[in-house]
């Protein structure tokens, strides 16, 4: 079953690729150099074909891959199939499918596990890997359909599962979180693992209107870019006061000067929540919006409070079809420490996914769906109270229907009619 083993010890002869050869120079790592190295060492002709087709794309300024249907037993997603549209020109790259693999949360690896992946991948596939896709998959790029199942079975026995594709829950992404960061307000890695395991069925079998993405950031610095690029953006925060180590504040002033503190911390606070009293820093936490700026500048002196949890923002997405949308607050705060907290979170998200599955149009993300049906209807359907944290400001559009009054008036009218 092994793919394209070298026939002898001779280096594979590569074809001329003058356009992409231009990408071999310069200080930044060159993927073309890397591809050539692997093609020549392994003798894999698929890589040579891919280099040839890529060079042709550079010459003609067009792409030449088309999709198809390739999968593994029992799953309906996770393999991105690619067939060359110009296989007559470059028959060595006629098939170039990708396997999306879900990494561990936080994109952590051991060298042992990565070597195992490399060995399996060299046996069945091209040896080319994308680390990582924009959603967070480890992407094994370049395998023939006939080798996909065997490759997946070997990887799966080592604990690697496929990621999402198409109208599924997609592979999640989490920041480094409590593994290395002092600002992590919840266990992003644990929650990522649990939530995505729970949604494994929806990840592997397309049954949603369109894609659904989760990203887990430990604090509002949002290192996973979750507000912009996920339907369910789970961001760590805290409810009580920022913790201040006044001795460290004083050391900060001694080291950097009071002008640095004023110009770069106090005046940069978006809500003017910080004042200085001698060398003591005073924060009015009622005004603080948990933006993280002062904690970023002074990590020794300032830390998040102890009453920690998450904010859930819903509806972020990329450009198609209505332009970019940022996620908006659906849950200002919920605890995320115990299994019960996690269950409550998953129950809520389940209600949102159910509503969207019932009401979403084809290719409509949940953010677009909420905008179309109206947020009041959405909140009611998923059982959330409307709260003022959900909005930047109350409506300035003058025309609205306050449904309750209308219903009362109609009831009164009916009563009057009955009386007559």
């Amino acid at each position: 079953m092994s793919e394209q083993q070298p026939k002898n010890n001779e280096k594979l002869q590569l074809n001329p690729t003058p356009m992409i050869d231009e990408l071999e120079s310069g200080p930044w790592p060159s993927f073309i150099k890397g591809f050539k190295e692997t093609a020549q060492r392994t003798g894999k002709t698929m890589v040579r074909g891919v280099l040839d087709q890529l060079n042709y794309s550079y010459e003609t300024r067009m792409g030449y891959w088309k999709g198809g249907v390739v999968g593994v037993h029992g799953y309906g997603a996770g393999i991105i199939s690619r067939y060359s549209m110009i296989g007559d020109k470059f028959p060595e790259a006629i098939e170039f499918h990708t396997m999306r693999i879900q990494p561990a949360p936080g994109l952590h690896y051991s060298s042992k596990a990565l070597r195992e992946i490399c060995d399996i991948w060299e046996k069945y596939g091209s040896g080319l890997i994308s680390m990582h896709g924009q959603t967070g998959n480890l992407q094994l790029q370049g395998i023939k359909a006939e080798n996909v199942q065997a490759c997946f079975d070997e990887l799966n026995q080592l604990g690697w599962d496929l990621g999402g594709a198409g109208a599924t829950v997609r592979t999640g992404l989490s920041c480094v979180g409590p593994a290395r960061c002092e600002q992590a307000c919840y266990d992003t890695l644990h929650v990522h693992g649990k939530v995505l395991s729970y949604y494994a069925d929806l990840t592997h079998r397309p049954q949603l209107p369109y894609k659904a993405k989760f990203k887990f950031s430990g604090c509002p610095n949002d290192c996973t870019n979750s507000i912009q690029r996920s339907d369910y953006s789970v961001i760590g925060t805290w409810r009580d006061d920022i913790k201040i180590d006044q001795a460290e504040v004083e050391r900060f002033i001694d080291a950097k000067g009071v002008d640095y503190l004023v110009n770069n911390v106090i005046t940069r606070c978006p809500t003017k929540a910080i004042t200085l009293k001698g060398k003591e820093m005073v924060i009015d936490n009622r005004d603080c919006v948990r933006c993280m700026h002062c904690l970023n500048v002074m990590p020794k002196a300032l830390s998040p409070g102890d009453d920690r949890g998450i904010t859930l923002l819903v509806g972020g997405k990329g450009h198609l079809k209505v332009g970019n949308m940022l996620g908006s607050v659906m849950v200002p705060f919920m605890k995320m420490e115990t299994d019960d907290d996690l269950d409550a979170f998953i129950e809520l998200v389940d209600r949102m996914i159910d509503y969207w599955s019932e009401n979403g149009l084809d290719h409509e993300r949940i953010g677009e769906c909420i905008e179309r049906v109206g947020i009041q209807q959405f909140l009611e359907a998923v059982g959330l109270e409307a709260t003022v944290e959900m909005i930047a400001h109350p409506r300035d559009n003058p025309f609205f229907k306050a449904g309750d009054y209308q219903a009362d008036d109609e009831e009164e009218d009916e009563e009057e009619r009955d009386a007559v």
């Binding site: 992409i20 990408l23 120079s25 200080p27 930044w28 790592p29 060159s30 993927f31 890397g34 591809f35 692997t38 550079y58 300024r61 067009m62 792409g63 891959w65 999709g67 037993h73 029992g74 991105i80 690619r82 561990a104 952590h108 690896y109 060298s111 042992k112 990565l114 490399c118 040896g127 080319l128 890997i129 680390m131 990582h132 079975d153 799966n156 026995q157 599962d161 409590p178 593994a179 002092e182 992590a184 266990d187 990522h192 693992g193 995505l196 395991s197 494994a200 990840t203 509002p220 949002d222 979750s226 507000i227 912009q228 700026h293 830390s303 450009h319 079809k321 209505v322 970019n324 149009l361």
Partner: protein, 358 residues
């Protein structure tokens, strides 16, 4: 293909984590106190226990190979107790409690072609898409654009000289899988799709293609006696959404697919709220293999930001302070009417005030 399956799939989602964490990371899990940046590309995290963990961050190709990954594994074994991780911007990170490992690890990484940097107020690696290498709808390559840009901006990856961090993305179609960024390079189509009526009825589901259009510009029609689709060209916004649903709606063109530059996007909540990026240049040629016009323009924007931005101002916050008029003056980019929004909610982007900079 009648081979009997002996293996039952274990449907577990993400891989288990614990064996992948560095022992010092596991020991101090959730108990970190603060961090410092001893030099560009290096972080020093200190735990409440007093334990110290150094991180060395280095660039990768993103499109890597088993050979490259095995070499990184060798370095992890030599210097980082067999552990490594990736950032969301395709950088690789090695962690070690041993400060003496940092300098030799940096030397070994750079000798292996992985420059160290990308921390603090630097230009970090580009989050990018697949392009001609693998995607089925790209108008441009992605890895080649990213490589060319980072060669041009290399100094600012390896040094922390910017007012604040700079995040870049590139995207090879208007779906913008690269995402929002301080500066983004995104494909710009300038013509409606060319419709291949010969194959359309055979390769496309017509109702879903009609439904895919955000401005209802696609209609059923008959061409040469065959059912097909037509595009109302006055309505079409050249987004390319239909091409994803129907390969016969060819939106890409070697000449007419251009590149546009967008600035001021921001994902973090620090200081200002997250923001979408704004259009500042368009109609740049799709010019492989090096796209010099794009790199040149990015260098100009970054030079102006570096000269004028104050500490901690992200690119968009710098523009908020100096105003768009001065942004265009200081970068030398021409403003034109196409940069004024005329799509949904356009009016919120108009200047509805007498605030004017003279």
């Amino acid at each position: 293909m009648a081979t009997e399956r002996t293996w039952k799939t274990v449907e577990n989602g993400p891989h288990e984590l614990d064996e992948f964490l560095h022992p010092v990371s596991l020991k101090n899990y959730g108990q970190w106190k603060y961090h410092e940046r001893p030099r560009p590309g290096v972080l020093k995290h200190v735990a409440k226990s007093g334990d110290v963990l150094y991180t060395v961050r280095a660039a990768t190709h993103r499109q890597v190979t088993v050979d490259i990954v095995r070499r990184l594994c060798d370095l992890a074994d030599r210097f980082a107790d067999g552990h490594l991780r990736w950032t969301v911007r395709n950088n690789v990170e090695f962690m070690t409690p041993n400060g003496d490992n940092v300098a030799p690890l940096i030397a070994a990484l750079e000798a292996a072609g992985h420059p160290v940097g990308g921390t603090g107020p630097s230009v970090s690696a580009i989050a990018h898409t697949q392009g001609w290498l693998h995607c089925d709808i790209p108008a441009v390559d992605a890895s080649g654009v990213a490589k060319s840009i980072m060669d041009a901006l290399f100094h600012d990856f390896a040094h922390e000289e910017m007012p604040n961090r700079v995040r870049l993305t590139t995207s090879c179609c208007e779906i913008n899988c690269g995402g929002q960024a301080d500066i983004a390079v995104v494909v710009q189509h300038t013509r409606p799709p060319r419709i291949n009526h010969e194959i359309l009825a055979n390769v496309c589901e017509m109702p879903s293609t009609v439904a895919r259009c955000p401005v209802a510009a696609i209609r059923p029609t008959t061409v040469n006696g065959k059912p097909s689709l037509m595009v109302v060209e006055e309505k079409c916004i050249y987004c390319g959404a239909c091409f994803g649903a129907c390969p016969a709606m060819e939106i890409n063109h070697p000449e007419h697919s251009k590149l546009a530059i967008w600035v001021g996007g921001k994902n973090s909540n620090a200081r200002t709220k997250p923001a979408n990026m704004k259009l500042v240049a368009h109609g740049l040629p799709n010019n492989p293999p090096r796209w010099p016009e794009v790199s040149e323009l990015l260098k100009r924007i970054l030079a102006a930001y570096k000269a004028g931005g104050r500490d901690w101002e992200r690119l968009g916050e710098w523009i908020d302070r100096i105003g768009w008029k001065r942004f265009f003056e200081e970068t030398g980019l021409p403003f034109d009417k196409f940069m004024i929004d005329n799509y949904r909610h356009a009016r919120v982007s108009f200047n509805q005030s007498a605030h004017i900079r003279f």
